[in-house]
């Protein structure tokens, strides 16, 4: 506990920058945005050390009354689940600014200020401890994102922007109703922690689950609510794609972790099978979609569907490996896919095409770029040693405890990921450049290198030393699983200690354990 209002500072610091962007000269607004995003990151950096990994309680808590009736509080806090996401968000934002440095030419102050507003809203979502406050932040990012896509996006941006907006809005409005229903059933409070402590009737939980699902599944996006994603990703400017892929999608899965699991444990257990089925479908289906694409951004967008499928899979297998893997995967996907989108943005600035056939043979003229792109691609396909492997491995391990067959299907996604990513690399990095674009293919300049290198470093740091991050989430995840409502999650038997390996065999599959019981 600290009395210093870290979180308020992190949340609202970018907002100052957002206003400032309009007050300075248009050219300087880039520097303002860069300064404020870096400043926010520096502000959030001390949390890495200040964060106490041994406790599951919320840390850096701040609380003030916002609306007196009904009691809505301005309360912020952070635990092991939100902590990595906040740091990831603040970490990524400076790169969104730098990658837009020359790519965005018109209405620069507005663009930069929208980025900063987004940052406030995104961090706010992750640290809000009041459901209404959460919802406010959750919705507040819609408009800036809408503008980011619609004003600075590609040729079909209007359609994509409105689709994104309406799709997510429709889901989240149902969430609002669910929040209100929870308020009246959960002791007249919007406090997330208190609501998590409450118990609710079975049918109420079912309905609430569906409402939560509507909001979160659209955001994730889970199959079959994913079709806004390729459009939005493809049309958004690079920074927008990065924010979308890296942070916005995580808010859906964060919602599952923060709300669905603790508040609706019984419904969660009831819906486990369909949720896992949807996740696995998303993994494989997204990969298949990616295989069929000729547009690089669209390919990466569909790969996000696949990767986010791992996250939801990890969440709903309801064991520690699965959930920790899911959180890891959230961070990793943010970094890796963020990096991929940055790379696409950089090449788009040169060739003004996102088609694979226009961007071939980059290894020759742009060796450094090719290496970076390759690293992100390898990370994306879950190569050991890179960050994504850790998440996917843990998720699959967790899934294995739930069902071996599910794991086999999910692991198919890993093969397919290699297929579409490597095929993309084969076509984009290798080969010979398209003659029409040959002259534009200059290798990365200092700014672009500086944009990508930190991400690359993080790819490897998290891949090789994931434990510092994992240890910071142990307590929270354990608490999530063994909280006050532990019995609900007892469906997957924890692994027995070693000397009882024989007993473990009885539990190797549901059926054999039944047989064992029958005997």
């Amino acid at each position: 506990m600290t009395s210093f209002p870290w979180l308020t500072l992190i949340v609202f610091f970018p907002l100052i920058g957002a206003v400032l962007c309009f007050l300075v000269k248009a050219e300087s607004s880039r520097w303002v945005a860069l300064g404020f995003t870096i400043g926010t990151f520096l502000l959030s950096l001390p949390l890495w050390w200040l964060f106490d990994p041994s406790t599951a309680t919320m840390q850096f808590v701040e609380r003030a009354s916002w609306i007196s009736s009904p009691p809505v509080n301005y309360s912020l806090g952070m635990d092991g689940i939100s902590f990595p996401l906040v740091l990831m968000t603040t970490f990524l934002m400076p790169f969104c600014v730098t990658v837009s440095w020359t790519a965005i030419e018109k209405r620069v102050p507005l663009f930069m200020s929208m980025l900063l507003v987004m940052e406030t809203a995104m961090v706010g979502v992750f640290v809000a401890l009041d459901f209404v406050l959460f919802y406010v932040f959750w919705e507040a990012m819609l408009i800036p994102m809408y503008l980011l896509i619609g004003v600075w996006g590609g040729p079909n941006r209007l359609y994509a922007a409105i689709k994104f907006f309406l799709y997510t809005l429709a889901g989240s409005l149902l969430l609002l109703v669910a929040i209100l229903a929870l308020y009246f059933q959960g002791g007249h409070t919007f406090d997330i922690l208190e609501l998590s402590r409450g118990t609710y009737g079975a049918s109420l939980q079912m309905w609430l689950f569906l409402a939560f699902f509507a909001a979160f599944a659209v955001k994730v996006p889970m199959f079959p609510f994913h079709t806004w994603l390729p459009d939005a990703h493809v049309e958004a400017p690079t920074a927008g794609s990065v924010i979308l892929a890296s942070v916005l999608l995580k808010m859906g899965t964060y919602g599952f972790l923060r709300f669905t699991l603790p508040m609706l444990p019984d419904a969660t257990v009831t819906f486990t099978k369909p949720m896992i089925a949807l996740s696995i479908i998303a993994i494989i289906y997204g990969a298949y979609m990616a295989l069929a694409q000729t547009d690089i951004k669209k390919l990466i967008a569909y790969s996000s569907v696949s990767h986010m499928g791992f996250v939801t899979l990890g969440i709903f297998v309801l064991n520690i490996q699965g959930i920790e893997g899911a959180v890891m995967q959230m961070v990793n996907h943010g970094i890796t896919t963020g990096g991929l989108f940055l790379c696409v943005g950089i090449i788009y600035e040169r060739t003004h095409s996102r088609q694979i056939q226009d961007n071939t043979g980059l290894a020759g003229p742009m060796p450094r770029y090719a290496i970076f792109l390759m690293i992100f691609a390898l990370s994306s396909l879950g190569l050991p040693g890179t960050n994504s492997f850790v998440g996917e491995f843990l998720v699959l391990a967790g899934t294995f405890l739930w069902s071996q067959f599910a794991t086999a299907f999910a692991a198919l996604g890993v093969i397919l990921a290699a297929a579409y990513m490597l095929w993309l690399m084969q076509r984009v990095v290798f080969g010979t450049p398209a003659p029409a674009h040959r002259a534009h293919l200059l290798d990365l300049n200092a700014r672009e290198t500086a944009t990508l290198v930190p991400l690359i470093v993080l790819v490897f740091v998290l891949g090789i030393f994931p434990n510092p991050l994992l240890t910071r989430m142990h307590a929270s995840v354990t608490n999530l699983l063994n909280g006050q409502k532990a019995p609900a999650f007892a469906t997957t038997p924890p692994l027995p200690p070693l000397p009882k390996a024989a007993a473990a065999m009885a539990a190797i599959s549901p059926s054999s354990s039944e047989q064992a019981a029958a005997r």
């Binding site: 809408y146 619609g150 922007a161 907006f165 309406l166 429709a170 409005l173 109703v177 209100l180 308020y183």
Partner: protein, 491 residues
């Protein structure tokens, strides 16, 4: 027979408004054409005094003039809201009339007379006063709608408004006559008593309910009594449209709730069903038809229809809930209308002042690329539209929040779900304007591009509306406590 001084003191705000109105009507012929601004400032002065006086009535509950008028916190809430929106409308008109080169001093007089009518409506304790207030307001608005009388569309709006208004007030009056027959008096408290003693199984009551619903439904512009709205809103001068959409709707809600809660509260089981149907129909129609509009004024008209639907949710829920809980339901309606007023007024203010070649440009297409030409105006419009769509952190969200809260609390979660679905649909047409402003390049020659004709008065109006929308979105406590103190209680 003399009246105690306190009766006159109780209606002092009304007296000031009426007095100022008469003063303006008298001054108008005397003043030179270029000095007519004085009339506007006079109006604002009167409003400022009224605000001060009415604020003193935020608590308490007194009757005046043989129980025909009630001075209570409920009326005070509406009156304060009406002062504010009237004041903003006056400022807007100051700019608008100049831009349209209309020089009609009586205009301000009519605004004040309409305001007086509204004040009578919301503080009437007797159907007679409420009826007369309604008529005073309506007649003023008929005239104001036709003010651009050389323009066919303005006159057409006026004529349509008048014909349908007269028709609906005939229906309303017939309903009142039946209630009189039922209770032997038009006093709301007596009617309530009669309903309690006679029960609700009286066909005459049902008939009266339906007729009153038609009459008030017309004023509130709810489906299926809404059809005048788009035509009239489109044809009337924009400042008048703003006044109609905001003040008239607020006052009508005020009177409507007064009549149905204080007078017909005993039959709330009957009329809440009736208004549930109307509410859903209103939500559906308002939002669906708004999607296909090409005129922004018509779009805003449909939007205001839809918003009446949202407000009705609160009414329906409170009526269905009854007892203590009804108060918070009605409070959500009060809050919603207040919030609605700010954002709608802001939007209309911008629409009215955006001109192309000296003409009002009301086609949505005319907004193409506005964000480039007028970034600030586009930003203001953005905020108002976002608020209308109910997206946090604007006041529109707070309004919807309380309405949905009431719905869920009242056990009508399904209605809340219906409402959110339509809220999502509504986002489409609000965002379409944003899209046109921000994401489209203007087509055609640069000369024909629309621009905002600014003036200090307009800037002030916009700033106030924006401040209202943002401030209420961030700090709704004050307004909510005001609304919940003022909200009527269904016994």
């Amino acid at each position: 027979m003399t009246f105690p001084l306190q009766d006159l003191l109780a209606i002092l705000p009304e007296l000031i408004v009426i007095g100022t109105a008469c003063l303006i009507l008298a001054l108008d012929p005397i003043l030179a054409t270029d000095k007519k601004d004085i009339l506007a400032w006079l109006t604002l002065g009167a409003l400022a005094m009224c605000i001060g006086l009415t604020s003193a009535h935020l608590t308490g509950h007194t009757y005046a003039f043989s129980n025909l008028v009630v001075i209570d916190s409920y009326g005070a809430f509406w009156k304060l809201l009406l002062y504010v929106v009237t004041g903003l409308t006056v400022l807007l008109s100051l700019a608008y009339l100049k831009a349209e080169r209309l020089s009609i001093g009586e205009y301000y007089g009519f605004i004040l007379l309409a305001l007086a009518g509204m004040m009578v409506m919301v503080s009437g304790a007797d159907l007679l006063t409420i009826y007369l207030g309604t008529e005073l307001m309506s007649l003023s608005l008929y005239v104001m709608a036709g003010l651009k009388r050389t323009e066919a569309r303005s006159l057409e709006a006026s004529a349509k408004y008048f014909v349908l208004g007269a028709f609906s007030s005939g229906v309303l009056l017939y309903g009142i006559s039946l209630l009189f027959g039922l209770a032997g008096s038009t006093r709301l408290s007596v009617i309530a008593e009669a309903i309690t003693t006679q029960g609700t199984a009286n066909p005459m009551l049902s008939l009266a309910l339906v007729l009153l619903a038609v009459g008030f439904g017309f004023k509130l512009a709810v489906v299926p009594f809404h059809m005048w709205t788009p035509d009239v809103y489109q044809g009337a001068p924009t400042s008048v449209t703003a006044f109609m959409a905001v003040a008239s709707k607020a006052a009508s809600f005020g009177a409507f709730l007064r009549v149905f809660v204080e007078g017909l509260g005993g039959a709330s089981a009957d009329w809440s069903v009736l208004f549930t149907i109307i509410c859903v129909a209103t939500l559906a129609l308002g939002n669906l038809v708004a999607i296909v509009q090409t005129s922004i004024k018509r779009m805003l008209a449909y939007s205001s229809i839809a918003h009446a639907g949202y407000a009705l949710i609160g009414v329906v829920v409170a009526a269905g809930h009854g007892g203590e809980g009804s108060s918070s339901g009605f409070a959500s309606v009060l809050l919603y209308i207040a919030v609605y007023s700010f954002m709608t007024l802001g939007a209309f203010a911008l629409v009215g002042m955006l001109r192309k070649e000296g003409q009002e440009s009301e086609n949505i297409e005319d907004y193409a690329g506005l964000a480039k030409r007028e970034p600030l105006a586009a930003f203001f419009m953005l905020v108002f539209l976002v608020s209308l769509a109910g997206i946090p952190p604007t006041a529109g969200f707070i309004g919807k929040f309380y309405i949905f809260m009431a719905a869920v609390n009242g056990g009508m979660t399904w209605l809340a779900v219906v409402a959110v679905i339509f809220a999502a649909i509504s986002a489409f047409y609000y965002l379409r304007i944003v899209m046109v402003m921000y994401m489209r390049e203007p087509e055609g020659a640069a000369a024909s591009q629309s621009r905002l004709e600014t003036s200090p008065a307009l800037s002030f109006v916009l700033a106030c509306a924006l401040a209202g929308v943002v401030f209420l979105g961030l700090f709704p406590n004050g307004l909510w406590s005001l609304a919940s103190h003022a909200a009527p209680l269904l016994k």
